[in-house]
């Protein structure tokens, strides 16, 4: 299973702050997981489109497209941060 988290604008657009999903077949990294989420259609395909300002963290560390994703991971999607 994967624990998926969504924050800020993405939490609102996806109308959820978290969900548990089985690791999809063939998904091995952040790029693969993002592509799998886009297959859900809108708003996923829009918000997670290539070039959109989306950040991803895997197990609470900032990740990039090539970061591995494995069963049991916590993966968070969120906009660029604006604290401080």
């Amino acid at each position: 299973m994967l624990q998926l988290l969504y924050f800020a604008r993405l939490r609102e657009r996806f109308e959820r702050d978290a969900e548990r999903v089985a690791l999809p077949a063939g998904v091995a990294d952040v790029a693969g997981l993002t592509a799998w989420l886009r297959e859900r259609g809108d708003p996923w395909v829009t918000e997670l489109a290539p070039g959109r300002p989306v950040r991803v963290a895997v197990n609470q560390d900032m990740a990039d497209a090539a970061t591995p994703v494995a069963d049991g991971d916590e993966v968070a999607f969120f906009p660029p941060v604006t604290g401080g």
Partner: protein, 164 residues
């Protein structure tokens, strides 16, 4: 000049204080607690970020700060570690509020203690620049046109890039 040995190490362990909280903070009390017990400290640089009543050309009645519990503290600790690797600082405090805030409310506090002022200033500004671009906080503002998520600023990215 004389032949005495170099300055001794700090005589107590250094402190790294990281907190995320809804409550306000007391700058003077945080500063006093952070530097207590070290007579090696000669410089205390600090920064307080405050909620303004205008942003990007619109009136702001208030804001709500959201964060990613767990990752936030972890990200702040990494930023503090990175500052220690770059400058000879003694103590670091980073306190960030979440939840609803109104104009003039304090948002964030960063304090750095060091033997000398140059390192305290540089580390304090570095910590703020990195916090602004790497710690998972998000601001939603209430404006006359309704709620809006604050966009990340390219000027913040540029500020963080300076330290590379």
């Amino acid at each position: 000049m004389n032949d005495r040995v170099a300055e001794p190490a700090v005589t107590r362990p250094t402190r790294t204080v990281i907190r995320v909280q809804t409550d306000d903070f007391d700058v003077g009390a945080e500063m006093t607690a952070l530097r207590a017990g070290s007579a090696a400290i000669g410089a205390v640089a600090s920064f307080v970020g405050v909620c303004r009543d205008r942003n990007d050309g619109a009136d702001v009645a208030g804001m709500t700060l959201e964060h990613y519990p767990g990752m936030t503290e972890r990200a702040l600790a990494k930023i503090a570690d990175e500052a220690r690797g770059r400058w000879d600082v003694i103590d670091i405090a980073m306190v960030h509020r979440v939840g609803p805030l109104r104009p003039t409310d304090q948002i964030v506090l960063v304090i750095v203690t060091s033997a000398h002022r140059g390192e305290a200033f540089a580390a304090c500004e570095f910590l703020m620049d990195y916090l602004k671009t790497r710690a998972p906080f998000w601001k939603q503002e209430a404006t006359p046109d309704g709620l809006r998520w604050v966009d990340a600023r390219t000027s913040d990215d540029a500020a963080a890039e300076r330290w590379r």
